[in-house]
Symmetry: C2
Subunit: 177 residues, 2 copies
Amino acid sequence: MVLLGLLSHEPMSGYDLKASIEQTVGQFWRESYGQIYPALKALEAQGCVRGEDQLQGGRRRRVYTLLEAGRARLRGWLAEPPESTSVRNELLLKVFFGRMTAPDVIRGHLQASLQQARQAVGHTDATVAMLQAEGADDPQLPYWLLTLDLGRRVAEARAEWAQHALAVLHAQEETGS
Amino acid sequence: MVLLGLLSHEPMSGYDLKASIEQTVGQFWRESYGQIYPALKALEAQGCVRGEDQLQGGRRRRVYTLLEAGRARLRGWLAEPPESTSVRNELLLKVFFGRMTAPDVIRGHLQASLQQARQAVGHTDATVAMLQAEGADDPQLPYWLLTLDLGRRVAEARAEWAQHALAVLHAQEETGS
DNA sequence: TGCACCATGTAATTAGTTACATGATTAC
DNA sequence: GTAATCATGTAACTAATTACATGGTGCA
């Protein structure tokens, strides 16, 4: 579905799609070539996309175009209620079992997580600024900004939590538990 | 690792472990029987846990106890930097491709998401209250509360974002885009 | 000449869910 | 007696990553 969605913007190759996924929805969605190429073949067999080989010198590029059937399928999928996100957070699991190890171990993970979260906030701000500067007319833009906004809010929440958690663990050690 | 961690508290069966995972780390970690039972066998073969059959009437229960090798392995794992959480958020993907469908479709998803987030906040608050009432001495408690606190912060961020997103989409329709 | 990047694909492996099969116990 | 829950496991399937294999282009 992410392939159909991106192809609705412009025709692209599998390679382009991978790069495009990373640039646009990379914050909350990832795909590997091992899934993209077979999926494109399947979508072509189902009549959702059309693939055409382009030859530039000796280099072959197979560019896929979204067909009406694919557009319909994408709309159908968009209307379905989103499935619950697969939840797996190794950091939280390690924090949960924190009493099994030295306090420094968990604090180290929290420090790293704090830095990551701050970087994510900064990166999101930069992306928002760039997008607003260059493509003020793109009809996709408001939706893209919304996804970035959630990313930013969650990253901020994580940063604040990491600071709070560090403070709690510090205080706990003081009182000699 | 989640099995070793929970067994560090008390010996349990595979069935107990599944229930325990749901009650404690369920907000950010899930396992199915299809993984738990084979994993316990593997951990026993590696000497990390010891399994003993208990017979209560005609019902068999295989209770696993954490061994020193398992404890060491758990500590080793805790010291490793946590791997990046697998990110896949279908709601955000649908919001991102929102321009491909009617505004009401996305608003419906956002409304549902808002309700879910509010429920999560309430559920977390209830759990925190319950934990603080019953087990003020448990050495695991502070760590557990920290994981709940992140869950709450993230749920609140999601709720606020959903409201914001609904407002944005509403305004956008007004201005006739 | 060699490296980084463009470009496509397959195979092997691992991870994970779901469905199925079985049977005992407890509470209504 | 019958439904819910306790309890353990396997098999089939699906999803997903990683490694491998191949070869072209552009540039320093």
